[in-house]
């Protein structure tokens, strides 16, 4: 180990020390900021749909001709992380469900609409109990959404919306599918700001202070 005793070497050492210290401090700051940002975009945060702000679920009037399909078309995933979900506790189990049938299609010989509403055939209609052989209308039906087919387009939700339906079908974010993008494209495109981030941390500020 050599020790420099020359007064000409001291400024160089100091410079190196300061440079080294500066790099270390900068790295620590970057790691700290990254950690903070990473914590804010962690698994504790999630995107959710506010039903009272969503055009399809509760906001505004009913009618599939006014449906908003942003949840289906804006997600970065090939098949959106949003799905329609039917609350069976609220469902009326109607024989002619406007979320299942396209009620504006011609009526068939069985007295039911001839076409289904879902473009992806993602809703299954199952009779509950035994079928009444004497009265086809005297049956309750269970309507179940197929997760693998549904893309969250919102058509069924819009047709089930009050007052046309009972509002038992709504759109929800599937947390096992959602990538939790820091800048969610659905949220960016949602016309009513119904797509919100929820979690234990406050959402990061959209703009830096001072503009």
């Amino acid at each position: 180990m050599s020790v420099s005793n020359s007064p000409h070497d001291a400024p160089s050492d100091r410079r190196q020390f300061l440079q080294r210290a500066g790099r270390t401090a900068g790295a620590a700051a970057l790691i700290g900021v990254g950690g903070a940002l990473g914590r804010r975009a962690c698994i504790q945060d999630a995107w959710a749909i506010d039903p009272n702000q969503c055009i399809n679920i509760r906001l505004g009037v009913t009618g599939s001709d006014r449906v908003c399909d942003v949840c289906a078309t804006s997600c970065v995933l090939p098949l959106s992380a949003v799905r329609a979900v039917n609350d069976h506790g609220q469902c009326g189990r109607c024989c002619i469900c406007p979320a299942y049938f396209d009620v504006r299609s011609p009526v068939g010989p069985d007295g039911l609409p001839s076409k289904k509403l879902c473009p992806r055939d993602a809703i299954e209609r199952r009779v509950i109990g035994d079928v009444d052989p004497y009265d086809p209308l005297n049956n309750f039906y269970e309507y179940v959404v197929d997760d693998e087919k549904c893309n969250g387009c919102g058509l069924c939700v819009m047709e089930c919306k009050d007052p046309a339906g009972l509002g038992s079908i709504r759109l929800e974010v599937r947390y096992d599918l959602c990538l939790r993008c820091n800048r969610c494209t659905i949220a960016s495109d949602c016309p009513e700001e119904a797509y919100v981030r929820v979690g234990p941390q406050a959402a990061p500020a959209a703009q830096l202070e001072g503009g």
């Binding site: 009326g92 024989c95 009620v103 209308l137 309750f140 046309a164």
Partner: protein, 278 residues
């Protein structure tokens, strides 16, 4: 020619703190009675509120006879005099839920129980005499809208029921005998009942004309006693969100329609349309 209201009133007295207006009937003085949570308002033909009664429990339906009022409540029926003072009660808390229609015949009360989805006949002292419609509707009346409405046809003393999920009007005798039904699902023909569950409410005029109300789109329609379509309200008459529009006929065949959500009351004259029962 569409059915057009000759007068629209209400809303100022009916309370903002109430869930919604429910139940309507016209009394022997020609006043429209409207139930709104625990209160019943009386309107004269000009639309002025002339009386108000407040009660201890929510009133879900209103009916009238020559001298009395009848209120459907949870678990029973209240009998009041023509001024609204309670004079008797019929209770069956074990078997009766929310009573959304009452028909007072000579010695029998016909009640619509929306909770248990059944029509039942009771004696005036509260004995359950029989269920009506069970053998036809083995799974009960299917009423996703939460209201089972029925009306008395004074021309033949029968009961007309709005069976919403089956898209039809059913007719029964007071002894429970099923007399038939008419109506079907459809979105194109104005005579048909559209959506998931219509008609929601029903009333029968003194001459036997049948008025029904629907939701999505909200409207009122008039039929003959056998189901021949006669007229309907024009689009925009009622608010888009209106459903379970309560109906009541006056003695002169005037029809009142009460929008529960907006609390507006519409008065229609069928005479002006030259509508006749066949």
């Amino acid at each position: 020619m569409p059915l057009t209201a000759i007068r629209t009133f209400g809303s100022s007295e009916l309370g903002d703190d109430s869930p919604r207006a429910t139940g309507a009937a016209v009394d022997a003085r020609g006043r429209l009675l409207v139930a709104d949570n625990r209160r019943v308002f009386a309107y004269d033909a000009s639309g002025a509120c002339v009386a108000q009664n407040e009660y201890a429990e929510a009133i879900w339906s209103v009916a009238t006879t020559a001298t009395n009022r009848w209120y459907g409540v949870r678990g029973g029926v209240l009998e009041a005099d023509i001024d609204g003072r309670i004079v008797a009660e019929m209770r069956d808390r074990q078997q009766l839920g929310r009573v959304t229609a009452v028909i007072a015949l000579d010695d029998v009360l016909i009640v619509s129980d929306a909770t248990h989805r059944v029509l039942a006949a009771y004696s005036r002292d509260g004995r359950r005499l029989r269920d009506i419609g069970r053998d036809v509707n083995t799974r009960g009346f299917m009423i996703p809208n939460g209201t089972l409405d029925a009306a008395h046809d004074p021309t033949d003393d029968t009961i007309c029921v709005a069976h919403s999920q089956k898209h039809r009007v059913e007719r029964y005798r007071a002894d429970g005998a099923y007399l038939g039904a008419w109506g079907r699902f459809g979105m194109a023909d104005p005579a048909d009942f559209g959506g998931c569950c219509n008609p929601t409410n029903i009333a029968v005029s003194p001459s036997g004309l049948i008025a029904v109300s629907e939701k999505a789109p909200s409207q009122t329609k008039i039929y003959t006693r056998d189901g021949q379509f006669l007229a309907a309200t024009a689009p925009g008459e009622f608010a888009d969100e209106s459903k379970n529009i309560a109906l009541a006929f006056a003695d002169d065949e005037a029809l009142y329609a009460v929008e529960p959500q907006t609390r507006r009351i519409h008065l229609f004259s069928l005479v002006a349309l030259e509508v006749h029962a066949s």
